[in-house]
């Protein structure tokens, strides 16, 4: 089914674009600060083993890239950790690739680009970076990574797409409420974006 809109033809108002850019830069900067303060978290060799499942470790590059993808939303640590661990198993040189994406993001922030432009730039640089970008955002917002028969679910109830509408809708199958609660209008509280 065709999309009802084309992001290339519907640019955000300037004020909104500036806000988003500011948020993205803030997130990226936060990641970079952590990266500099804790260089030992960043793998020095691509063959470094993945983190143990019982530890809460990602890398500054992962934090920076995911912060850029999420905007002003903060994902639950358990989701981030699960995503990082899963990707670590899928991508042998994950941390190097994350570093490359962080580098591209940093460059594009000097010349603001739409998401698809950014993704295109990643693909031009290295097709695998484009795949990683897709797995990152799918993992955060949909709880899935991979494609075709290799697609798999890594999370559900804590994914970001439900998080951003949690004032109105809960994840399906986890949404029990008072009898007939659906007859009442949605009351918007602490809604950041609409």
């Amino acid at each position: 089914m065709p999309l009802p809109e084309n992001p290339q033809k519907a640019p955000l108002p300037d004020a909104t674009r500036r806000k988003i850019l500011t948020c993205s830069l803030t997130g990226l900067a936060a990641g970079m600060i952590a990266w500099n303060r804790y260089p030992s978290w960043f793998p020095q060799a691509s063959a470094q083993a993945g983190p143990a499942s019982t530890t809460n470790i990602t890398t500054p590059a992962f934090a920076a890239v995911t912060a850029h993808l999420l905007g002003s939303v903060t994902a639950q640590p358990a989701l981030l950790q699960r995503l990082y661990q899963t990707l670590h198993d899928m991508y042998p040189v994950l941390d190097t690739q994350l570093e490359s994406i962080a580098s591209v993001i940093s460059i594009t922030q000097q010349t603001p680009a739409t998401g698809s432009n950014l993704r295109d730039q990643l693909v031009q640089k290295d097709a695998q970076l484009g795949e990683l970008w897709t797995d990152l955002i799918n993992g955060l917002y949909l709880g899935v990574v991979g494609s075709g028969f290799k697609r798999r679910c890594i999370a559900f109830e804590n994914i970001v797409s439900y998080q951003v509408v949690s004032y109105a809708l809960l994840p399906v199958s986890y949404a029990p409420g008072a009898p007939n609660f659906w007859t009442n209008p949605v009351v918007v509280k602490d809604q950041k974006h609409v």
Binding site: P4, P7, I20, S72, C153, S161, V164, H193
Partner: protein, 533 residues
């Protein structure tokens, strides 16, 4: 008591029709054995598989097929279990396992209209039934009591008693839509649903998980698994993983046994006095067609040549748009309301009637997938998820197919499944009757979109119709043995102790979900079966 090799009554298939018929017959004192081709299905495992599913929109993913009971699947790719011969696609989905496909239905439990039983007489199209609405009414009620159907208006299907349960009230956003449509020809009404509006029959009231398809996590929605459990409690023996592949008859054309393969490919012979085939509208006719003998080279119950023919379903059109006020679909059950008042009239001479569901499925996942595919991320993505989820509306209309002998299934002569049983070839074509219905539906959608202040409306295309998994017509009911398979009691014309039940016997598909009618017919058949033993 029945055992695994013999019973008074042998039922093939444990879906809602077969299981409720078995329950009724067991309660009347008969020994009943159900042979189910698929595995045991358990709700807790299904729920867990849904939550772990990579493709949440694939309603088959929580129901993985066993190697001995393959079933159609289309996501991420067509598994080609159904061999499409065209010219139109027929993408039926059904579950092979104890309880059958109602594990993942939407719970919509409509009755047909009285006029649906006589469309040839009234409108000069299709076929008349050999029974009337009035003949079926008490069985509708019996099925509704078993299923716990909630509702308020009779929706022009006359009732001798009220619905067993009060109707489930409309979600706020849909009530707003109804208000916006006031003064138009289109009235949004609460649909009859096999879903508890209050605690009923040991099951809780719906609490709005919005996951009726593919699995209600709390059993507030009725499913065939409940019928199987009750049948077992009444003494019915249920043998799962038993793939029936042959029906055996004697010289007098009475059925004497069926043969099944187990999960180890070992064959077993099961005898009985009366046999009931309830394996859905595709697997049942396939079984009849492959049960050939010297006397019946075209299969059992097929002297008319009608077995597998007249395949019907409900092709569907749709429109999606963003309303000018928040609607917030996704709160409450998934199919709570419909536009039902435009499904019958003299226009049925020329085109299908129309029934429109307001698809109250949470749109968050599907919208997010599209936005990501379009390249959005960060706060722009967050904002659009919020805005679109609030305003998104999806209307799904369905059309009536008419019986056509060229729309048919046949057992493949060359392609077999892993247990050596022929696969199903499907020949299917949408008629002009449906295309004409589509043209009308678009006009209706346009009017509704305008009244809702809709933007970015996307209409489905002519000829590209959704399938609604309401398989009908393939074992068609009629009074003439030369052009039909079963009589008004679902007894085959050719074999006095063989009955075929479920939606496959329906001579018209009408434009409402077929499960309740198929179940009512099965309960009617059960009374006739009991008279044979």
């Amino acid at each position: 008591m029945s055992d695994a090799t013999s019973a008074d009554i042998v039922v093939i298939g444990s879906g809602v029709a077969g299981a409720l018929a078995a329950l009724k017959m067991a309660k009347a004192g008969a020994s009943v054995l159900i042979l189910e081709s698929g595995p045991e299905l358990k709700r807790d495992e299904i729920v867990a598989r849904f939550r772990d599913a990579a493709y949440k929109g694939n309603f088959m993913e929580p129901y993985p097929a066993a190697p001995w009971s393959p079933q159609p699947s289309f996501i991420p790719e067509d598994n080609n279990y159904l061999i499409q011969k065209g010219p139109s696609p027929y993408k039926a989905q059904y579950v092979r396992g104890t309880g059958g496909t109602t594990w993942h239905w939407a719970g919509q439990a409509f009755r047909l209209l009285p006029n649906d039983f006589k469309i040839q007489s009234l409108y000069g199209v299709g076929r008349d039934w050999p029974i009337s609405y009035e003949d079926l009414e008490r069985f509708y009620l019996e099925a509704e009591v078993q299923m716990g159907v909630s509702g308020d208006s009779d929706l022009d299907s006359p009732r001798t008693q009220p619905y067993p349960l009060p109707g489930i009230p409309l979600p706020h956003g849909i009530a707003r839509m109804n208000a916006r449509l006031e003064g138009s020809p289109y009235v949004v009404t609460i649909g009859p649903q096999a879903r508890n509006s209050i605690p009923y029959d040991g099951r809780p009231a719906c609490c709005g998980n919005n996951n009726c398809m593919p699995i209600c996590p709390i059993d507030a929605q009725y499913n065939g698994g409940i019928a199987v459990r009750k049948a077992r409690e009444a003494g019915v023996k249920v043998q799962s993983d038993a793939v029936v592949y042959k029906i055996e008859h004697d010289a007098q054309d009475r059925i004497v046994a069926v043969h099944y393969l187990d999960r180890n490919k070992q064959s077993h012979r099961v005898t009985g006095k009366t046999f009931v085939v309830a394996a859905n509208g595709l697997e049942s006719p396939k079984l009849l067609l492959i049960s050939t003998s010297d006397k019946h080279p075209d299969g059992i119950a097929n002297s008319s040549g009608m077995v597998g023919r007249n395949l019907m379903d409900h092709p569907g059109s749709s429109v999606e748009f963003f309303a000018d006020e928040p609607i917030w679909l996704g709160r409450g059950p998934m199919r709570p309301a419909s536009i039902n008042n435009i499904r019958d009239g003299a226009f049925r001479k020329e085109r299908s009637g129309l029934r429109i569901d307001i698809a109250a499925t949470s749109p968050v996942r599907a919208l997010t997938e599209r936005l990501i595919a379009a390249g959005y991320y960060g706060d722009e993505l967050n904002q659009k998820i919020q805005d679109q989820s609030a305003h998104y509306v999806l209307l799904k209309g369905m059309f009536e197919m008419l019986p056509d002998v060229n729309n048919r299934i046949v057992a493949s002569k060359t392609e077999k499944d892993a247990w050596g049983i022929p696969r199903i070839e499907v020949h299917y074509q949408f008629p002009d009757y449906v295309h004409n219905g589509y043209e009308h539906s678009i006009k209706v959608y346009q009017e509704i979109v305008e009244r809702m202040g809709g933007r970015d409306a996307v209409y489905s295309k002519r000829g590209e119709y959704d399938n609604n998994q309401h398989i009908t017509g393939t074992m068609i009911m009629g009074s003439n043995p030369k052009d039909s398979v079963v009589d008004g009691d679902c007894r085959t014309h050719d074999h006095e102790n063989l009955f075929l039940v479920g939606t496959g016997v329906m001579p018209s598909s009408a434009i409402v979900n077929s499960t309740l009618t198929g179940t009512a017919l099965a309960l009617k058949a059960a009374e006739a079966v009991l008279k044979t033993i």
